[in-house]
């Protein structure tokens, strides 16, 4: 299991487009992917789940990966977050 903390850097926060990008990236890997924000915990491979995360710019999320390709999954996901989902 791998855990990574990320900060939302894009201005608009986690709206529909980034949510879709997260789910698409996650689904490329076998590893289970969970996003935690405070007491909330959602499956990162579910668009409706990611859409419920009200994460504005500057908020921090804990990403949890678990599975055979967890390292590659974590690397790809952290990069996606760091680049602000290609939005800024």
């Amino acid at each position: 299991m791998i855990e990574r903390t990320v900060i939302i850097v894009n201005k608009a926060g986690l709206h529909t487009r980034p949510a879709a990008a997260i789910v698409k990236t996650a689904s490329r890997y076998k590893a289970d992917f969970t996003i935690k924000k405070g007491v909330f915990e959602i499956n990162g491979k579910s668009i409706i789940g990611v859409m419920t995360l009200a994460a504005e710019q500057g908020s921090s999320l804990l990403l949890v990966f678990s599975g055979p390709d967890e390292e590659q999954a974590a690397e790809a996901m952290v990069e996606l977050f760091e680049q602000g989902f290609g939005e800024n």
Partner: protein, 587 residues
């Protein structure tokens, strides 16, 4: 007992004319149908069949949404169509659907019950958020949930809409409008919404009469009631009498005949008999509208309301996103000019960072917001200037009150140009700059403002509202909203003279510009440009082509000597009846 049908009195609801035309027929009162969901136990043997029902329903729901998405993209543009894309993605959410299928098998309950239970969890999470944007998302989730459930229950979308009807609804979503338009819809009437709402825009392009902003019409009519919609005057009439129906028929026939006669005027210039040219352009809100405006014979875009870029999104669009849209419009209008008005947020218009003000119309809006938020302003200015490479782009600032605001805004334009030059981006170095005159203080200072810019454009809606101190939406004082008040006529005269003394041109982009009653007066006062909503372009052009500038000047002089609004209206109306009798006036 009396026969109820004989005693039902005619009731008139006043709204806003959103799409022209007359419709008479039975009401279909549309409210979002929420499918009834009951828990039902199923046998273990029935699980595969139940899951099959769910999967089939999902497939049908997706098909529906793909159709709506395609239609919306074509009619409303890709930004508005994103709503449907997100809904399609939820249908394809394998985690969500996997959970639902597993629960059907484990809990042995019917598919719609589990769908409702599972998706409602997410909806409630969204509704619990403080963020307004999340509430909108909850709406979308609710919509997609009901779509799946309805399909599981194997119901057609509008099973109850039989025959031709007038749709009366609190509001219409783009999806509703799109779906209804494929049925036999005579007209739309809604409680909410304005001329620029998506439903209004869509009904105009579909040529379906519509009246919006009727406040509480849905509370007073029921399905099957007889109504008439007057899409010219903006009224809904419940139980129209035989006389009313007859009058509406006559009116509709007159408008149709007039529209046919006007069809060939589109290619002719807007000039008076004695060859005084007036530039006749369009007010647009969405890029898609320009095609219709061109068919109607527009000579350019006198006002593009860039606020439409903010609809349905939580943030301000990036420079690149904006540049794409602005360039598209500039290209579509070329060689005619397009005037982009920078974001006019605040007042009654939406602002992504909503904040409450006691008196929004006297508050933080227009150029005041932009000067306080240079980042947003600079992004937009660069985007507009990037669209100017073919030299048919102009930029205009809303809600200017002082000279200093114009000077500051111009400094930002200079800075934006320097940045683009450094980037090596091509643009029109002499892009023309203008200001809206809509605040009385700015109107009085018109000559000093004109000295700073290339053009002035009079926003009559706000100017009249501020001059008369009247909120036109407030029924108790709405009658004082008088575009033909002598004070308004005098200030218009002052602005036009002031602009001409400084050799800058001056236009009108408020509703008054498109009011046939005002055309002769405005031309006579010396207006250089009229920017109007596309449907009235031929009508206004017809008036301009039927008069002499010499006579119009005399009319204006006479009006300037009048002291009562009623006298002015009556006089102008007699001029139109005399000079252009075929114009159907709305007095």
């Amino acid at each position: 007992m009396m026969d109820a049908t004989l005693t039902q009195a005619e009731i008139i609801f006043k709204g806003i004319a959103a799409a022209p035309g007359i419709a008479v027929g039975p009401v279909y009162l549309y409210s979002k149908v929420v499918p009834e969901v009951n828990a039902r136990a199923i046998a273990p043997d029935d699980v595969p069949a139940e899951i099959e029902r769910l999967r089939n329903a999902n497939a049908r729901a997706e098909k529906e949404l793909r159709k709506i998405h395609a239609f919306a993209e074509q009619k409303l543009g890709s930004t508005s169509a994103t709503i449907f894309e997100a809904q399609i993605m939820i249908l394809g959410d394998t985690i969500l659907m996997g959970t639902i299928e597993r629960r059907i098998a484990d809990e042995l309950q019917n598919a719609e019950f589990i769908v409702h239970d599972e998706i409602s969890k997410y909806k409630h999470l969204m509704l619990a958020a403080t963020d307004e944007y999340m509430h909108e998302r909850a709406h979308d989730v609710d919509d997609v949930m009901n779509r799946i459930i309805r399909n599981i229950q194997d119901q057609k979308l509008i099973s109850r809409l039989e025959g031709t009807s007038v749709i009366v609804s609190e509001t219409l979503t783009p999806a509703d409008t799109v779906i209804f338009s494929r049925n036999q819809v005579l007209g739309y009437a809604t409680d909410l919404g304005g001329v620029t709402s998506h439903a209004a825009l869509l009904s105009r392009s579909l040529k379906i009469p519509a009246v919006v902003g009727l406040r509480n019409a849905t509370k007073q009519v029921k399905t099957g009631d007889s109504v008439a919609i007057d899409g010219y005057a903006g009224v809904l009439i419940l139980n129209p009498s035989a006389t009313t129906r007859e009058n509406l028929e006559v009116k509709a026939a007159r408008f149709r005949a007039f529209e046919e006669k006007l069809a060939d005027i589109a290619g002719l210039p807007a000039e008076t008999i004695d060859r005084k040219r007036v530039e006749l352009s369009s007010n647009l809100e969405f890029p898609e509208e320009i095609e219709f405006a061109k068919v109607q014979g527009t000579e350019g875009v006198g006002l593009f309301r860039t606020e439409s870029q903010l609809i349905g999104r939580p943030d301000y669009p990036s420079e690149d996103e904006q540049a794409l849209v602005y360039t598209q419009i500039a290209n579509a209008a070329y060689p005619h000019p397009v005037i982009f008005r920078t974001f006019d947020v605040g007042g009654d218009k939406l602002a992504p960072d909503t904040h409450h003000e006691e008196n929004p119309f006297l508050g933080w809006r227009g150029i005041r917001v932009l000067l306080d938020r240079p980042e947003i302003f600079m992004n937009q200015l660069r985007a507009i200037i990037r669209a100017s490479a073919r030299r048919n782009v102009r930029v205009m600032f809303p809600m200017v009150a002082t000279l200093e605001e114009v000077q500051k805004a111009k400094a930002y334009v200079r800075q934006a140009k320097e940045e683009l030059r450094a980037r090596g981006v091509p643009f029109d170095a002499r892009i023309k700059i203008g200001v809206m005159i809509e605040i009385p203080g700015a109107a009085i200072m018109a000559e000093q403002l004109a000295a700073e810019v290339h053009f002035l454009s009079i926003g009559t809606n706000d100017l009249v509202q501020y001059m008369m101190a009247v909120d036109r939406g407030n029924d108790s004082v709405a009658a004082l909203y008088q575009p033909f008040n002598p004070a308004v006529v005098r200030i218009l005269h002052h602005i036009i003279e002031a602009a001409h003394r400084r050799h800058v041109w001056v236009g009108v982009c408020g509703e008054m510009g498109g009011d046939p009653l005002a055309t002769v007066l405005l031309v006579g006062l010396g207006i250089d440009e009229l920017s109007v909503v596309p449907p009235v372009l031929p009508e206004i052009k017809k008036i301009i082509r039927s008069i002499k500038y010499k006579d119009a000047r005399r009319v204006a002089d006479k009006v300037l000597g009048m002291t009562r609004e009623r006298d002015i209206r009556e006089y102008l109306s007699s001029i139109i009846k005399n000079k252009v009798p075929e114009i159907p006036l709305e007095v």
